[in-house]
Assembly symmetry: C2
Homo-oligomer: 145 residues x 2
DNA sequence: CCGCAATGCTTCCCAAAAGAAAGTACGCAC
DNA sequence: GTGCGTACTTTCTTTTGGGAAGCATTGCGG
């Protein structure tokens, strides 16, 4: 699979490179690429879902983070919150139009990761995750003797 | 712009929904969608770059986070680190083959965000509700009396 | 009649992560 | 020998995230 390096790239190439700090793009990118943002958005792809269902799907999320992530994404207009005044309470979350557009460009990423994750984490040699290990062992690699 | 809702979706639909916690996909997704992961990866799209150049491009990143993010991404095999034994030290970072594939699916996302960010942050409550602006600003309130 | 379960959040407390800034190593110019 | 420039690391402080309990409401089991 050849990655065409001659891609037509929008405004990213034009500037010095990436979005400047504090600009809207950075804000939105932060919201979307937050730890749970992608999971929640993709989870909503197959239709409206309730709080407890999202909680089950985004396995490992805390209720606090679920509430916060949903609020942020709703604030950005990616999803709708539909609270029905019944007992026990029932709240349905669903992707907005804009949210569906976003998830559409998000899905290729998620699919690619799903397909390649195994070979990525199993790559031997310099370890799968640099969090621990070689960093502390080699204080400075810069100037090799 | 039409988002084809009738998309044929990969393996995501098959399971209960999203990747289970602790599986390789989640690990990789966390690395990529970490706060600076996307910025660094996209910054490297137009060729190898030095430490200080990346620091400038990913505006706002701290040196600690730059080092950590680079280590993680290198551990995942998305980029190569080429340290030359010269004084003053010179280290070039470049996308690996795998990294180029990843950025290729990342770019549509980044482009979409770049195009829509303005309307997203400037639309407070299109849905008509009071939840305006940054949702992170909702202190307390509960079920409004 | 009373307490409890079910649901969707919020609040408190503490651990983990991110940020700021200073330190480290090295050779060269001064 | 002091200071500079580069690429990091280390230390300390601030922000963020997770766990669990609380709250509000009401039909239902006992």
């Amino acid at each position: 699979m050849t990655v065409s390096t001659g891609n037509s790239l929008s405004p990213l190439q034009g500037a010095d490179g990436i979005f400047p700090a504090g600009c809207p793009s950075r804000t939105v990118l932060d919201h979307v690429s937050s730890k749970w943002g992608v999971l929640i958005l993709v989870a909503l792809w197959n239709g409206p879902q309730r709080w407890s269902e999202l909680r089950r799907r985004a396995e490992g999320i805390s209720e606090k983070m679920l509430a916060q992530t949903l609020k942020t994404l709703e604030g950005d207009g990616f999803l709708h919150r539909d609270a029905q005044p019944v007992i026990p309470p029932r709240v349905d979350y669903s992707l907005s139009n804009r949210g569906r557009e976003l998830v559409a460009v998000l899905l290729p990423l998620v699919s690619w990761i799903a397909e390649h994750a195994d070979e990525i984490v199993s790559v031997p040699g310099t370890a799968g995750s640099g969090e621990s290990g070689d960093a502390a062992e080699a204080p400075h690699g810069h100037i090799a003797p």
